[in-house]
Amino acid sequence: MLVLERVHTHYGAVEALQGVSIEVRKGEIVTLIGANGAGKTTLLMTICGSPQASSGRVIFEGEDITHLPTHEIMRRGLAVSPEGRRIFPELTVTENLQMGAFYASRREIEEGLEHVFTLFPRLRERSSQRGGTMSGGEQQMLAIGRSLMSRPRLLLLDEPTLGLAPMIISQIFDIIRTIREEGVTVFLVEQNAHQALQIADRGYVLENGRMVLSDTGPNLLANDGVRRAYLGA
């Protein structure tokens, strides 16, 4: 469904990704783990075309999207809940969600809202509240909900549990499972390696802009190097 081939990405003179290749197949949950500054967010944002890869290819559903502008990539059936959630603080919860389905018809938007409110009953309660006034966990739910509004086939999640309380974290992971059961493929960037690998079919380990390991979720959980470096064992 999604293939990255030897992708290099630069921020000015800094090479943040040094020839990274990954593959995400339809129906999977694939996780990308790595330390702070390893390039996880860069990789995710390169898929979105912001920044664009300086070499290599990004292929989504057979189409080369490497050099498409971001807004065109994001209309091809993938959606992102980015680092820091990036809720529109002055827009209400409903308005934030509506922004997630900008090109949809009125009916599709109504259906999308209903779908998101069913997944996150909390958002329905808060529907007319401004996004910026909500708690971190609620904002994360809103960010995921907003990304689901466009009915994506591939969902990109960047550290959806960062800074949240343990109880909320397990709620978020439950939701990710539910989303996959509804037929959405999930690419999950996480620092919370333990829980991410538990729900993932496969995982990749990124170090200093290079992919150092890839395996199934259970194998990575059992891998000594991964345990030492990312699981604190």
Partner: protein, 308 residues
């Protein structure tokens, strides 16, 4: 003392209509600032172009007399709005967009260049001298205030106030409830995120410039009809005042631009009415300094809370 009320009423109408014009222009400044954080110093020229386009259209239509006045005015308004929106679009597309992402000073200099270019372009095409605008909305309401005093409220000034009120209400509803209005607000808050949601942010920016130009064009046409003369240089001072109004109300805030325009128009008119009229600009800009001293973000501006 007996002449207080008539004079006050007269000044009030003058002040409100002047303020309405400032508000119409100020919205263009504030919306563009809100969305891309730049001061479009060519916006005063857009207003001037709006006034000229309506004058040219009026002159062309006036040649065949016998056309009913509402149709003449409506046609002039329509042509002015469409053509001026085109100018607003073109200025952004060619003078600002290629420079986006660079240092903030660069588009500012480009804006000043654009302002000079447009002024001289109109001066070249239409002549640098004042031209007179036909007084199509003549007359006014004569109000007797007793003791022989009376006030005339010119229809042209009342038209400015009425049209502006209608446009402000329409704009507020549009920004609040329409899909494009929502996109404008979202882009103003987080352009990058809007882009990540599949929104072509360049189109939203172009739209903002065109919307600002439309309101300025309406203001330009109304002021031409009310004052009766135009010059290619009216945009400079009007733009400066409208910019002041936008800052006064809190730059980035649409209700702020409306309020700032009205406050500035009233302050200026009353200053000119009760003091030597040369003081009106002093009063206007002193007001700005005073407001910024006590409310650094303007009357309705919000201090941006940066959440870490």
């Amino acid at each position: 003392m007996a002449d207080f009320l008539p004079q006050f009423t007269q000044q009030l109408i003058n002040g409100l209509s002047l303020g309405a014009i400032y508000a119409l222009i100020a919205i263009g400044y504030t919306m563009v600032y809100g969305i891309i954080g730049m001061i479009n110093f060519a916006h005063g020229e857009i207003y001037m172009i709006g006034a000229y386009v309506s004058l040219v259209t009026l002159t062309a239509l006036g040649a065949q007399s016998g056309v009913p006045l509402p149709i003449v005015l409506g046609a002039a308004l329509l042509v002015s709005v469409v053509v001026t929106a085109g100018y607003g679009f073109a200025v952004e597309r060619f003078a600002y967009r290629p420079l986006r992402g660079g240092p903030r000073l660069v588009p500012l200099i480009s804006a000043i260049g654009m302002s000079i270019l447009l002024q001289n372009y109109v001066a070249l095409g239409q002549g640098a001298r004042d031209v007179s605008v036909p007084q199509l909305i003549a007359g006014g309401i004569d109000i007797q205030m007793g003791e022989g005093y009376s006030v005339v409220l010119p229809y042209s000034r009342l038209a400015i106030i009425c049209v502006t009120v209608v446009l402000m209400v329409a704009l507020t509803l549009f920004i609040q409830y329409s899909r494009m209005g929502r996109a404008c607000r979202a882009c103003a808050q987080d352009m990058g995120m809007s882009n990540l949601l599949g929104i072509d942010t360049n189109r939203v920016i172009s739209f903002t410039f065109m919307l600002g130009a439309i309101l300025a064009a309406v203001g330009g046409m109304l002021i031409g009809l009310s004052v009766g003369r135009l010059s290619p240089f009216i945009g400079f001072i009007a733009g400066l005042k409208a910019f002041t109004a936008a800052v006064l109300g809190g730059i980035g805030s649409i209700p702020g631009a409306m309020l700032g325009g009205i406050v500035l128009g009233l302050a200026e008119t009353f200053a000119a009415g009760y003091m030597p009229s040369q003081y009106k600009d002093v009063v206007a800009f002193s007001l700005l300094v005073l407001v910024l001293l006590f409310w650094p973000t303007g009357l309705l501006g919000k201090s941006r809370l940066e959440k870490v």
